[in-house]
């Protein structure tokens, strides 16, 4: 008898569970469409509040090397190669000799790779350079970093040479 009761309770609970169903989907106030479907139209909105700091539209080829030389990275990597370390040594010496100078380290990727991962990859590349400077003895407060991922390539072309050029840290000195 007890077994039958347990089974009955189980069955009733199963039926109740099965009986639950989500809310019905509602209708809404329709928004206006000003064109017939099929026509593809782009609308501009009244301009938003201007950005807090005016931004210059980005041009390709901008950001030629200054006093601090660019370093380059291998595909999908953010560690400093021997060659990069050599250049970083020279860059670090310049910063030591000019203590009033601050530097912005930009991390970049080539266009291959997915966008969000490239943003993080560029960040790691910039951090690798900053960490090198800090270990060398340069005060962290003189250094800032930013990743542009694949968004600001030096060379917008789509082949190996351009890609190699774009996998880089670029330094902007102030």
């Amino acid at each position: 008898m007890k077994q039958v009761l347990v089974l009955a309770v189980v069955l009733v609970s199963l039926i109740t569970l099965v009986g639950c169903h989500p809310k019905k989907m509602p209708a809404v106030e329709p928004a206006k469409d000003t064109k017939t479907p099929g026509e593809q139209v782009t609308r501009d909105l009244p301009s938003q509040k201007p950005p807090e700091k005016p931004i210059t539209p980005i041009q390709f080829g901008e950001g030629e090397e200054g006093v601090l030389k660019d370093i380059h990275f291998e595909y999908d990597k953010y560690n400093l190669t021997d060659q990069a370390a050599g250049i970083m040594g020279q860059n670090a010496e310049y910063l030591m000799k000019n203590p009033e100078v601050t530097a912005l380290i930009e991390g970049h990727c080539d266009e291959r790779g997915t966008e969000e991962y490239n943003l993080a990859l560029g960040e790691k590349r910039a951090l690798a350079a900053r960490d090198y400077f800090v270990r060398f003895g340069i005060d962290k407060s003189r250094l800032s970093i930013i990743s542009y991922g694949e968004e600001r390539p030096l060379d917008p072309a789509s082949f190996e040479d351009a890609w190699t050029k774009n996998r880089r840290d670029h330094f902007v000195v102030k």
């Binding site: 199963l14 009986g19 329709p30 017939t36 938003q48 991962y117 943003l119 960040e123 542009y148």
Partner: protein
């Protein structure tokens, strides 16, 4: 107990089991309890057979000048039903084998237009629902989307996708914009015009707000825009990178990638901008969080295994399991709304393809094969994925079913459309319409 009593006792259990089995067999989704016609989606071993649905002119007929609008309305409903993936539309509603029939009349009382729609069982003609939808000449197609979604819901129990929108990014590198477009692509609205880099739009679960990344102050910060007012407020601008916003299923926080502690890690931040917790602890790259629909786990990309792979952690960051192992480059996880699959991007033979994997990394499936495909994002019904595709001059935003079929282009004509984000159905969660 005597042997006889024991035998009777077990006989009683047997009857209970048989009755229980009959009861369960007879009762499926709740609708059956109301004895409605049997034209539900049939799940077969190969997937499911499509519901055959036809259209019939309703009584009273439509007056002359409204005939074109009526025809256009039906064409949109028909298209939406086919796009949902559940239906095969038939030419003649009275043909044999038609499972369901739609009748729609358009009536007009001065400036008030309304569509009276009746959905009926194809065999018995029993009414499944009969509803009146108010409309106006500029909004007939949106009413059609709402009707199509109501039909999808009535016959499958799932939310439709016809009345949803896509947010996405388009424009040249360095000067991109976030756009909003209905799924039929008919009208795109530019939501941002900042002259800078924008990325990664992400919808709040109720579809009222959009989070995104913008470089408008010079460094990447996360903003939240209210969709009805288009007002944007800055949500996160921690030191370093602020990126990849992913709204929690309860709408109360966002998982984001920050580099403030020395390298890209994932954090959960409350809507008011206060830090709640950190959930990854690896010195390399951890980024691109995607929440499980139950809010208990988060999928993300990490290179802790050498190259980028997909991992799953609990929302306290206590463990992390690797769920992709094939290939050397797997990124961009997107957890399906029903929790059963994680879509992601895998580099195969030098190109990117959209793949799915179960949350324990047991079974993977490749969904695309042509071009290079990125940014998978699920529809609210969990049946479709939107993604961006390039290659062969066919760049744009596309959708496919979760099995990789029925590929359709949604957005083209803009420069490099990418980063799609699929809104929930408009008006989600509001009161149901009154029955006509």
């Amino acid at each position: 107990m005597t042997r006889r009593d024991k035998a009777r006792g077990s006989g009683g259990v047997l009857w209970a089991v048989i009755l229980g089995g009959l009861v369960l067999a007879g009762f499926g989704p709740a609708e059956y309890l109301r004895a409605e016609p049997d034209v539900r989606l049939k799940i077969t071993s190969q997937g499911y057979t499509k519901i055959r649905i036809g259209f019939r002119e309703a009584e009273p007929g439509v007056e002359g000048r409204l005939k074109d609008a009526h025809r256009q309305f039906l064409a949109v409903v028909r298209h939406d039903l086919e796009m949902s993936g559940y239906f095969e539309t038939v030419k003649h509603a009275d043909a044999e084998g038609t499972n369901a029939v739609v009748e729609a009349a358009l009536t007009r009382d001065r400036d008030d237009y309304s569509f009276e729609v009746r959905l009926a069982d194809g065999l018995s003609d029993q009414t499944i629902f009969k509803r009146k939808y108010g409309s106006s000449p500029g909004t007939f197609s949106q009413t059609a989307h709402i009707v199509a979604d109501d039909i999808v819901y009535a016959l499958t129990g799932r939310p439709g996708i016809a009345n949803t929108r896509l947010a996405f990014v388009a424009g040249p590198r360095g000067n991109s914009h976030i756009y909003l477009a209905p799924l039929d692509g008919s009208e795109r609205v530019k939501l941002t015009d900042l002259g800078t880099i924008v990325m990664s739009p992400s919808w709040s679960p109720d579809g009222s707000r959009l989070a995104y990344v913008s470089y408008q102050t010079g460094t990447p910060a996360i903003y939240v825009m209210d969709i009805s007012s288009l007002a944007a407020t800055r949500f996160a601008s921690f030191e370093g990178m602020n990126a990849t916003p992913a709204w929690s299923p309860d709408g109360r926080s966002l998982a984001i990638t920050l580099s403030k502690d020395g390298n890209p890690e994932i954090y959960i931040v409350a809507l008011d901008g206060t830090m709640e917790k950190r959930i990854t602890y690896y010195s390399g790259i951890d980024c691109s969080p995607s929440w499980a629909p139950n809010g208990l786990e988060v999928a993300f990309t990490s290179d802790r295994a050498g190259g980028p792979q997909i991992f799953v952690t609990d929302s306290d960051g206590l463990y992390a399991r690797q769920i992709t192992t094939e290939g050397t480059y797997n990124t961009s996880p997107a957890w399906s709304p029903d929790g059963s699959l994680i879509a992601y991007v895998s580099r195969i033979d030098g190109k990117f393809q959209i793949c799915t994997v179960d949350p324990f990394g047991v079974t993977t499936r490749v969904l695309t094969s042509s071009g290079s495909n990125e940014d998978p994002k699920w529809s609210a019904d969990g049946m479709h994925l939107a993604f961006s595709s390039t290659g062969g001059g066919n760049s744009g935003i596309y959708m496919i079913t979760r099995d990789g079929g029925d590929r359709r282009k949604l957005i083209d004509g803009l420069e490099r459309p990418r980063n799609p984000a699929w809104s929930p159905p408009l008006g989600y969660g509001k009161q149901p319409p009154t029955e006509g």
